[in-house]
Subunit: 332 residues, 2 copies
């Protein structure tokens, strides 16, 4: 089952079912007006949503043409957005960049931060900044949306709670990261609104691409229409999504509709940009700059500036499985 | 106008209007089913809610007896919970306790952290922990609930966005604070579910007690029915709520229903516990322990253990203005 949320002038948007080929949609309004409402009663409503999806795919319902430009984030506002760090090579490269190479890397427990979830960006929303010199970066990530999980959950409880999978862009203002870290209160100003792909998909509808609590697909990342990276989200993910959910539940319950990010997708390699034929590249600029510094003594790849566009999507056979995030940096 | 959210078996509860004397309530269901819905359309709905409140207070509506034990948090789940640090003496005392006295204290800009907002505790919910040795502490705070605020808001925009004022208990697991800080990703495990008082009140209904974007009332804090502190929330609040909102909006919009905490209320003094006649005391245990360490060489006041109860409320003429938070520590 593939779900999307379309603009309707209201903060939560309109829940729709999208056909398997992403060509058509039908409103899910008579089952659940918006995605959070569906997640609040998932056991009762998912079978109804699934039956509607089957009718749409069978052609029993004609539906309407699906235009990703009409999509909001699957949850345009959420009660919780927790970003994890599944890929250790991302942490290694980003921390090295900040000159904190000696900081002990945690390979026993994943790091998590609490993100702002009150206004999650639509896939085509601009990245709005008041200052072009904040070292604007993207992070292409896989994210899952879960049902309620009790405090101190087991891995089995965590894995069973994964309801939907999608892709997000954890926009990062690198110039503010150090300030936030020095304050000791965690990321705040350095992590403005996260953007999401138009489509969220149930694990079973991803077939073989979802296994071992990981998404086994490459993340295609382009900056200004040039390939920046295609790291595989299923490779080098040290902590899987069950691990991240277990860790998030250590001291508290997680409510239905909590979104958990896997962290910037990152594969181990020492290639630098521009990306070569069959090269892997990066899912964020900070990592590319670290590799350049180590290799050439200085970073070559600039951060994003107003007018730049980043495109992010998980791909299978060159198709964008969740639809693309495509954001252009604009000055407020 | 005084609002509360009553248990009705649904995650958002039932919005009600409470009479000025907190004795009676009437359902606001025909205007807005829950508080977030009211905040989403505040300009249109607040006058209707206010008219209903006037009828209740005039006796034109009898209403039903208000029982605070039936109350959830005003927003049992919120799209955003940001806790600020309005009181510098809290930061000074807590940081000293952690042995980071040399860390530069920010008096130009308030610190903020992103809290979990997916499940905010009811005023009488237990503080549930899986481990009694986590140095369980409370923080008695004032909090405001705001309407939407644009990125890079002015102080005037920030002040005008304050819709409701209430009181909260920012439960803190001090033993995990250092881990969280060392990870560099900010508070996460150390800040489980925050609890809220039963009543949220509009600024105009607080009359003189709300001015200069501060609540000018003492916070009465008791542990196991013994007075622990009564610091005045209007005194020594270096950053007021407009400052906190301005800072929170530096790089992003804030959605309607965002809750902003003022930080643990803290007045400057060097008294230690037990609190004397006319003494001020503390709104969290960590501060009391710091003062004890400086004075006696060791901390005397223990953190909370299972079975201990903390009671928190802002008081005027010995009346609990927002109703009390009363939580007992229990082992999961």
């Amino acid at each position: 089952m593939k779900l999307a949320t379309l603009k309707n002038g209201r903060p939560d948007g309109q829940l729709v079912i999208v056909s398997a080929d992403l060509a058509r949609f039908v409103s899910a309004g008579r089952i659940a007006s918006h995605l959070q409402a569906a997640l609040d009663d998932w056991e009762a409503l998912a079978p109804q949503l699934s039956a509607l999806a089957a009718q749409l795919d069978a052609g029993a319902i004609a539906g309407q043409p699906f235009d990703p430009a009409m999509a909001l984030a699957p949850l345009p506002r959420a009660y919780q957005w927790i970003d994890g760090s599944g890929y250790l090579s991302h942490l290694e490269r980003v921390r090295s960049l900040k000159g904190s190479k000696d900081e002990e890397l945690q390979s026993n427990r994943p790091l998590l931060y609490q993100g702002g979830s009150d206004s999650l960006s639509a896939p085509t929303d601009p990245i709005v900044t008041t200052d072009p010199d904040l070292a604007i970066d993207f992070e292409a990530e896989v994210a899952v949306i879960i049902s309620a999980v009790p405090m101190a959950a087991t891995r089995d409880q965590a894995a069973a709670a994964i309801r939907l999978i999608t892709v997000c862009n954890d926009v990062s203002l690198r110039r503010l990261v150090l300030d936030d870290l020095q304050n000791g209160f965690g990321f705040f100003h350095s992590k403005p609104s996260t953007a999401f792909a138009p489509i969220a998909i149930t694990p079973e509808s991803l077939a073989g691409a979802w296994r071992d609590n990981r998404l086994h697909l490459p993340m295609r990342v382009e900056v200004n229409d040039t390939l920046f990276g295609r790291p595989n989200a299923g490779i080098d993910m040290h902590f899987d999504f069950a691990d991240l959910i277990v860790e998030a539940s250590r001291t508290r319950n997680l409510a239905a509709g909590t979104i958990i990010g896997g962290g910037a997708v990152s594969n181990r390699h020492d290639e630098s940009l521009p990306i070569k034929r069959d090269g892997i590249g990066f899912a964020c600029i900070a990592e590319a700059r670290t590799v350049e510094k180590l290799k050439y003594g200085r970073a070559r790849t600039p951060f994003l500036k107003p007018g730049d566009t980043v495109r992010i999507g998980a791909v299978a056979d060159d198709r964008s499985v969740f639809g693309d995030i495509r954001q252009t940096v604009t000055l407020a």
